[in-house]
């Protein structure tokens, strides 16, 4: 069974540019989460989808971040325009159940904003 897949694995962009990250969850998992790890800090929650609906986006830092999950399958996270402080590793996780469900993580996308 395929795990959670994220593209690209690494992205280097300049401040002010736009970047789109993609996440393909495990097939059949309705719950999809985005997290971010900034250097030296712990992994932090960004938002949670249940199928195609945003269940919780309380962790999104500002309106430069836009997440979508069309059709309840893969998800994209767009940063526009990117700022230096957006650099970090962005992880996607999926689970069957939300409450007590085991979240399985992708390998992450390392974003470097120069």
């Amino acid at each position: 069974e395929a795990g959670v897949t994220q593209f690209p694995s690494h992205s280097v962009i300049e401040k002010g540019q736009t970047v789109t990250l993609r996440c393909d969850p495990i097939s059949g998992h309705d719950n999809l989460y985005w997290y971010r790890r900034v250097m030296g800090k712990e992994i932090k929650f960004l938002l949670h989808f249940v199928k195609e609906s945003k269940q919780d986006e309380s962790g999104m830092p500002n309106n430069r971040f836009l997440a979508e999950r069309t059709g309840g399958t893969y998800s994209t996270l767009k940063v526009q325009p990117a700022e230096l402080e957006d650099s970090g590793v962005y992880f996607c996780a999926s689970s069957q159940g939300a409450s007590r469900g085991i979240q399985y993580f992708g390998a992450g996308t390392r974003l470097s904003v120069l």
């Binding site: 959670v4 994220q6 719950n31 989460y33 997290y35 800090k41 712990e42 992994i43 932090k44 929650f45 949670h48 269940q55 919780d56 309380s58 962790g59 992880f91 996780a93 939300a98 409450s99 007590r100 469900g101 085991i102 979240q103 399985y104 993580f105 992708g106 390998a107 992450g108």
Partner: protein
């Protein structure tokens, strides 16, 4: 505020030298406590989940335990392949972030032969 603190930040062991990693947590109603292993350049890999105080889970050389305020990950006779960062995370019933995981910073374990 829900919080997870892991100690130590880094731990160096000789092969065969058993030890424990600590995870202290504060959460509004614990749904579950999760242990993950993370290797460099990879995402967190699920190890265990514990739901109530007194619960224990084992897998090979690893054993996780849970009390009302902390969890321990015991490593018995570690091998070099156990070297990784171990992450602890909690999920709370009344957390601001709903069912999202709240992570600690992790403990980086190095096992030398």
């Amino acid at each position: 505020e829900d919080q997870v603190t892991q100690s130590p930040e880094a731990l160096r062991l000789q092969e065969g030298e058993s030890s424990s990693l600590n995870c202290s947590y504060t959460v509004s109603g614990l749904r579950g406590l999760f242990w993950y292993r993370q290797d460099p350049g990879k995402g967190p890999e699920f190890l265990f989940t514990l739901y109530s105080a007194g619960e224990e889970k084992e897998k090979e050389r690893l054993k996780a335990t849970l009390t009302k305020k902390e969890s321990f990950l015991h490593i018995t006779a570690p091998k070099p392949e156990d070297s990784a960062t171990y992450l602890c995370a909690v999920q709370g019933y009344l957390s601001q972030a709903g069912t999202a995981l709240i992570f600690g910073k992790g403990t980086t374990l190095s096992v030398s032969s």
